[in-house]
């Protein structure tokens, strides 16, 4: 039998310190999205959703930059590689999200679609950036051995202005090629690009494209560039020659770069639904059967095929966190793209993923607070999940308990409110903090517990002869009515106050009322009667005749209730007390009869 203990964690990435920024900042965006008004119709709603998507991406990017800084400054190689791995995961996440944003959220149409994809490739293919920087910063770029590579990179990414700028350097440095450079430059300048606005129709664009394409074809066929293989290959690229483009495989590094370049020079007005064919063939051509597609390739391919659910499924498998799929799915759901899909378990995919993510947050020592809002936005099971999770939050301080309590109270989770208050009241009781314990049970409206604590107070009083925690008992206010025993405690303390203030007749009335109205527990009657003794012995007569009879009846009720056997067991003190009371009552009665008789007579 293996003696290992494994720590099983639901969502591994939750525990990465740097990623906590991602969770916290995206939480704000998520809440904003849920609150955002649905009444924005059509275009403005779409603009809003694209903005939300960009905000999510900027958070990923900010996190990536922090992680990169951490990797750079990490001295420990293991730590360095751990950070670097995280950077590449975040980078892949952003790559996928960006593509989903173009294809699903923004749903770019033929024309603008290509421009968006070009931006996407430029943003994410950055392996060549170092080379570009090196060549551009060299003294004489056109003599640099990598010069033509850089020109090719610009052409492959459709960065025509930059490519032309470099060509002009070649022209000035190499007089023999001036003419060739001028022609190529002219071709690049004239290349038609789809417009973002509605300034030209697709047909216009296609016509212009056809025309330009024929012009390129002419120059290639009449051998204008025959003497310069670099320029000839560029011309072939402009013509969309697949083999010429594939020759630059190293400069593109990925099949999706190849795809976008291919589209740029052969199908600039590609429609969203045609993407899948080009994507598949581009991947096949680029990988050439040498390597099999990796998870990232599969995910991107699914996106190009508009298989949204496949994208989410593959991401769930490939990524070590629920953050990505939960937030992406929620966004797509707000775009009204997922409605038709119901799972055979749970309610729907959005809710299922949000629940998974939020449960992960709740398993974390500190991030549980974020999880609450995610559960709130799961209409079907969110509440149940929250109820189950919130009770498991360890409550080490009252402040934390108050925060958890606030969450429950805002959501009318009465059961949980009661249980939290009970836990806190028990803790306070264990620590001998009767005042705090009572406060907690009053907050929970827990009558039974309030009775229990009141009994502790009374017991303390009987033992010590004075009250503890007067500041609390004197300020019970309406909460006194929570339990009978608490009411008695409050009233009994009031009696003591009145007595202390020498307001004897009020005190006497209250004392009697505590017994006759059966507010006082029977076990406490003897104490109350003993308390009446000093009042009976006052110089002035305080109890009226009627009140004295009542007191006598109370005393007799008390003694009569006890069996002979009990009486026998009672110690002498108790018997003496009863005797003293009887005597005091009789004397008081005598005095009051005289007094009342005199008053009536006069």
């Amino acid at each position: 039998i293996s003696s290992c203990v494994f720590v099983v964690r639901k969502d591994q990435d939750i525990y990465v310190q740097t990623l906590r920024k991602l969770f916290n900042e995206s939480h704000g965006i998520f809440i904003g999205l849920q609150r955002s008004e649905e009444e924005f119709a059509g275009k403005s709603r779409k603009t809003q959703l694209v903005q939300v998507s960009k905000n999510y991406r900027s958070v990923i990017r900010a996190c990536m930059e922090d992680m990169h800084q951490a990797a750079v400054s990490a001295r420990d190689p293991a730590l360095h590689s751990q950070y670097s791995t995280q950077v590449s995961i975040l980078s892949a996440m952003e790559l996928i999200w960006n593509l989903c944003e173009i294809l699903f959220v923004e749903a770019a149409v033929a024309g603008p679609l290509l421009l968006r994809l070009l931006d996407w490739v430029r943003l994410h293919v950055c392996d060549v950036d170092n080379m570009v920087r090196e060549v551009l910063s060299s003294e004489n770029p056109s003599k640099h051995e990598l010069f033509w590579n850089v020109v090719d990179v610009f052409v492959l990414q459709g960065r025509m202005d930059e490519a032309r700028h470099l060509l002009s350097k070649e022209a000035s440095a190499n007089p023999t090629s001036v003419n060739m450079c001028r022609i190529l430059d002219d071709l690049m300048k004239k290349m038609p690009v789809p417009s973002l606005g509605n300034t030209q129709t697709l047909t216009e664009m296609e016509l212009k494209w056809q025309h330009w394409h024929e012009e390129c074809q002419r120059y290639l066929q009449d051998g204008t560039f025959a003497s310069n293989s670099h320029m000839e290959s560029i011309c072939k690229i402009l013509l969309g020659d697949e083999n010429a483009i594939l020759e630059k495989k190293e400069l593109m590094t990925t099949w999706y770069h190849f795809l976008v370049t291919r589209l740029l020079y052969s199908h600039p007005t590609v429609k969203p639904m045609e993407l899948r064919f080009y994507a598949q063939s581009s991947m096949d051509l680029f990988l050439g059967g040498e390597s099999s597609p990796e998870p990232l390739d599969t995910i991107l391919m699914a996106a190009f095929e508009f298989e949204m659910h496949q994208v989410i499924k593959e991401c769930s498998i490939a990524l070590s966190n629920w953050w990505f799929v939960a937030h992406l799915t929620d966004l797509l759901d707000h775009c009204k793209l997922l409605q038709s899909h119901n799972l055979y378990f749970g309610s729907n995919m959005r809710e299922f993923l949000l629940l998974e993510y939020a449960s992960g947050l709740f398993s974390h020592y500190s991030l549980w607070q974020l999880g609450v809002d995610y559960f709130d936005h799961c209409p079907e099971y969110g509440r149940v999940y929250l109820e189950l999770h919130i009770e498991r939050i360890p409550l080490n301080t009252e402040q934390k308990a108050l925060k958890v309590l606030r969450i429950c109270e805002q959501r009318q989770m009465h059961e949980q409110v009661r249980s939290i208050c009970k836990i806190m009241a028990m803790k306070a009781l264990r620590n001998n903090r009767l005042g705090s314990a009572l406060s907690w049970s009053i907050r929970a409206k827990d009558a039974a517990f309030a009775t229990l604590i009141s009994d502790r107070f009374l017991k303390d009083y009987c033992e010590k002869g004075c009250f503890s925690d007067l500041d609390l008992i004197d300020n019970l206010g309406p909460s006194m009515l929570l339990s009978d025993r608490l009411t008695f405690l409050g009233k009994y303390r009031e009696f003591h106050r009145l007595y202390g203030e020498k307001r004897f007749s009020e005190a006497a009335k209250l004392l009697l009322m505590l017994m006759t109205a059966h507010i006082a527990p029977c076990s406490f009657w003897m104490t109350l009667l003993t308390d009446a003794l000093p009042l009976l012995e006052q110089k002035e007569v305080i109890f009226s005749a009627e009140q004295t009879y009542e007191l006598m009846r109370c005393l007799e009720d008390l003694t009569a209730g006890k069996s002979d056997k009990q009486k026998f067991q009672d110690d002498d003190v108790e018997t003496m007390k009863v005797e003293m009371l009887r005597l005091a009552l009789a004397r008081n009665l005598a005095r009051v009869i005289v007094k009342e008789g005199t008053l009536e007579g006069s």
Binding site: Q17, R20, K21, N24, E25, H27, G28, I31, K54, N55, R57, S58, R61, A62, M64, E65, H68, V72, V87, S88, S91, D119, R122, L123, C126, D127, D129, N130, Y365, S366, Q369, L370, D373, N396, T397, E398, Q399, K400, L402, K403, R406, Q410, N431, N432, R433, L434, G435, S436, S439, I442, S468, D469, L470, D471, L472, N475, L476, G477, P478, S479
Partner: protein, 426 residues
């Protein structure tokens, strides 16, 4: 300037570096209204202001921030504060951190990060940081949920933090020696070299920074939890507790009883924070569990002078502006931070509503004897005005702590972020 984005993952064309810049888009003004709750309660109208938001820098710090405090300025300092301390809570590994918002980091990263707080140094702290106060320029006193009270020293020459003094389990339940016997220390206040602490154990400790043993301890000072403490005068302190009481303790007297008890009427709503007017010592502000702001005049009566319906959940802190006490700041569990301003000139503006350049509504109350009676104490809601601004437009999680010094505001949240505004009155 060339983008300093690291190779390998980030090539940022202009449009996206703009995107990466992000940082708190100012939100549309949201108006929140709350109705007056009781007889003496005033209605308060608050407008979320976008104006101040451009000046706010945020930093996500990967820990929930329970306290944020500016380091005090040396006497006669002219420049605004530039160093603050934060404490975290509810982490497996809590920390005290010292931050700089000076020009130190302005040339460091991208231009857009200018003014973002830079971490100078930090140190582990056992337990949640429950409260924190600077003792002087170098030392900060920290209250812990473990019952410990610790003084940390910030060494400015080599930017390190070290423990200077510690009172183990200054607050404790029944058995101090038991491993878990500590009771959370909930509040601390300093008047160098004196330090006063209060806790869940209802105990008040009077400590001296240079003495290992407590100068004085009042056991069972309160039967409920003491939530906060502040100095009223050098020899008197104010405490608030979980059954809505405000108590004055005279430390010269040997009696272990408060010299005065004030309380909210009837409903026993717990009070969480207390602050005293810096110039008029009889004016005291407290914040409660229901988010209500109470103003007390401790010269008279036992009940608050005014109750102002404010936040929707616990008010965690209330602070008069130390040098400009017509301004008051409160923050709450509901994720809002309010700026209360009674300084607006009252004479000229006749109408209840003022259509100014800023979208702010004024609340009116009494102007009689304006020159004599502080605006905080007047309670005739007809003439005097109070301008209230919510400084956080998109509130989510709790704002646990705030501090103001000169024109600078710092606050920390459960969303693991710290925010600094250096042009509060701009």
């Amino acid at each position: 300037m060339a983008s300093p984005a690291p190779p390998g993952h980030a090539h940022c064309p202009a449009s996206l570096s703009l995107l990466a810049r992000r940082r708190r888009a100012a939100a549309a003004n949201q108006q929140r209204r709350r109705q007056a709750g009781g007889r003496s309660r005033r209605e308060v109208v608050v407008v979320a202001a976008a104006r101040a938001m451009e000046d706010v820098c945020a930093k996500f710090v990967s820990q929930k921030v329970s306290k944020a405090r500016w380091r005090p300025l040396p006497a006669a300092a002219l420049q605004p504060p530039d160093i603050f301390a934060t404490g975290s809570w509810d982490n497996e590994d809590n920390r005290i951190s010292i931050w700089s918002v000076g020009d130190l980091g302005s040339v460091g990263l991208n231009g857009e990060y200018q003014g973002e707080p830079q971490l100078l140094c930090d140190i582990r702290h056992s337990g949640d940081v429950m409260d924190m106060q600077f003792l002087d320029q170098e030392r900060v006193v920290v209250a812990s949920s473990t019952g410990n009270v610790t003084i940390f020293r910030h060494h400015q020459n080599n930017q390190t933090l070290s423990t200077n003094q510690r009172w183990e389990k200054a607050h404790y339940h029944v058995d101090r020696s038991a491993s878990c016997g500590g009771a959370a220390c909930t509040g601390v206040i300093c008047n160098n070299p004196e330090v006063v602490t209060v806790g869940e154990d209802g105990r008040i400790n009077l400590l001296r920074a240079d003495q290992k043993d407590a100068v004085r301890t009042i056991d069972n000072a309160d039967s409920s939890t003491l939530h906060a403490v502040t100095f009223l005068r050098t020899t008197e302190i104010l405490t608030v507790n979980s059954i809505g009481q405000l108590k004055i303790w005279d430390l010269r007297q040997q009696r272990n009883e408060p010299s005065q008890i004030f309380s909210l009427t009837g409903d026993r709503v717990p009070l969480h924070c207390v602050d005293r007017h810096p110039n008029q010592q009889h004016i005291v502000a407290t914040g409660g569990q229901d988010g209500m702001l109470s103003i007390w005049d401790i010269r008279q009566g036992t009940m608050p002078v005014s109750l102002l319906n404010a936040h929707e959940a616990e008010m965690w802190e209330v602070h008069f502006h130390p040098s400009n006490p017509d301004h008051l700041f409160t923050c709450s569990e509901d994720g809002s931070l309010w700026h209360w301003d009674t300084s607006t000139s009252v004479a000229e503006k006749p109408s209840f509503l003022h259509q100014g350049g800023r979208s702010t509504t004024y609340f009116s109350h009494n102007t009689i004897n304006q020159s004599l009676v502080s605006a905080w104490l007047s309670n005739d809601p007809t003439k005097d005005r109070m301008e209230i601004t919510n400084l956080i437009p998109n509130q989510t999680l709790s704002v646990n702590s705030l501090d103001i010094l000169g024109p600078c505001l710092v606050y920390g949240t459960d969303a693991e972020a710290i925010y600094v505004n250096r042009h509060l009155f701009a």
